[in-house]
Amino acid sequence: MTPRATGTARARLAALVGCLAGALALGGCGAATDARGAPAPTGPGSPLEGTLVVLAAASLTDVVTDLATALEQEHPRLTVETGFGASPALAAQVLGGAPADVLVTASPATIARVTDALGGTAVVVAANRLQLAVPAGNPGDVTSLADLADPALTVALCAPEVPCGAVAATVLARAGVTPAPDTLEPDARAVLTRLRLDEADAGLVYRTDVLAADGLVEGLDLPAHVQATTDYPALVLPDAPHPAAAAAFVALLTGPDGRALLADSGFDLP
């Protein structure tokens, strides 16, 4: 009886933590109030156990880590291992045979490479939009996308081969701006680092990255008519070693708690 009792107590704690997080998120962002979706089909009685492996785009680090902790608290015999990185690298790992249960990428094109090869159906859990980002205090006096074409400014963008670079290319094409970048970084976080260290005057990164930079980077919203977003699809891998736990994780991500966390981190919700 003791293990079960402990499990229930932990589940209560987890529920409490979840409520608090949800309440904070609701206070922070009105978008979460229209949260839809059924509650996660899990409970203290669910026999989820083993090690669930979740691979997710680096921009989801905080959200996925929090949800992994919540799921572990709900299922004491379940361990959630998380891996974060650039979406194409994660997709390449999965295609290379890495034993993973859930994959969440920052672009539909990337996950399509996986579903084409392995099957399965991805579900869009969030969307992200770009912001024109500058170091705190805006030392380069950057005001619009057109400034990215100024050769006198140091400009950092994502390489066009990676998702954030592809979205940036779309935005710049819509705005009719031919940028003069000084570096094409392998992912959005690398661009953010150049801005945080004040080595670059301007760059294009996700709104979530600007929020995560804790005031060291300022973000300027882009005009709606040039804005392009990227969707975040989540996929339970067809040959997942722990399909039930994988489904529970995706349900958590698309459920009220997941949506609240995503909205709080600056993601748009589908």
Binding site: A86, P88, V162, D182, P186, D198, E199
Partner: protein, 278 residues
């Protein structure tokens, strides 16, 4: 009883473990060669982006090697003089980049020469010069990681050189600079060449410090290793093709050097005495 060593269980075991050691080092390269799309290799390597990265890599590595020769040979000369105090500490400092993760070197260079760096901030304020995101930054990153190879190789050669000829020149009235230029350096030239070749190959392979300090832009800072890393996620065949080219370049250099890669090693010393004798 003959003196021929017998194969015992012990020596057989040693041989097997040694073979495993060779396998660990060689099998990954075999896998690379096995995965190489040979029939498309020329097309893949002739891609303008690859040619651009190769040209940048060869150019920056050559600059870095030249800079390492200018700075490193005098440094090796100082290290080779046991009479001077503090050479032990100095040698340890020179060796640090050999064992330091290159990305740490990149962070350190950024904190020194970045726009807000210790020296970089002044460079920008006084001269309007910024170092990151330039080919010069690539060269500096390569110099940082590659110079120890040159210095240690040249120091070994200087220590192995016959001191008596230098002493003879000195007693005949030659100045130390003249002795270094006309007597010592010609004698250690093979060692310097070996060090320079090692330095060049290490500079060609530099990744961590470059991507951290210099950034990545085609034609300016994206060297072959950076291009390989990016292509691995987007065009794996291209990454394999570039890796094979880098591997070939490294092997050519090492085969040309053969046993001479550290002039102070016994094999290298024996080879040199044979040359001197002939």
């Amino acid at each position: 009883m003959t003196a021929r060593p017998r194969v015992t269980v012990g020596t057989a075991l040693l041989g097997a473990v040694a073979a495993a050691g060779v396998a660990v080092l060689v099998l990954p390269l075999v896998a690379l060669l096995a995965a190489t799309p040979w029939e498309r290799l020329v097309d893949l390597v002739a891609d303008p982006a690859v040619v651009q990265a190769l040209r940048l890599s060869l150019g920056t590595a050559a600059c870095a090697t030249a800079l390492c020769l200018v700075l490193g040979v005098p440094l090796a000369w100082v290290l080779a003089h046991d009479g001077l105090r503090g050479t032990g500490l100095l040698r340890s400092l020179v060796t640090v980049p050999l064992v330091l993760p290159p990305v740490v070197g990149g962070v350190a260079l950024l904190l020194l020469l970045g726009r807000r760096g210790l020296v970089g901030a002044r460079l920008e304020a006084w001269f309007g010069v910024t170092v990151p995101f330039t080919s010069a930054a690539v060269v500096l990153a390569q110099v940082f990681v590659a110079m120890p190879f040159l210095v240690l190789a040249v120091e070994g050669a200087l220590r192995g050189a016959d001191r008596r000829r230098a002493l003879a020149a000195q007693t005949l009235g030659a100045s130390p600079a003249y002795v270094l230029r006309r007597v010592t350096l010609p004698a250690v030239a093979p060692g310097v060449a070996a060090g320079a070749a090692l330095c060049f190959t290490r500079a060609l392979g530099e990744f961590g410090a470059t991507v951290t300090f210099a950034g990545s832009f085609p034609g300016t800072t994206r060297t072959v290793p950076l291009a390989v890393s990016l292509a691995m996620d987007t065009a794996p065949e291209q990454a394999v093709a570039m890796s094979v080219v880098l591997l070939a370049l490294s092997v050519v250099v090492l085969v040309a050097l053969r046993g001479r890669w550290v002039a102070g090693l016994p094999g290298a010393r024996a080879a040199r005495s044979r040359r001197v004798a002939s």
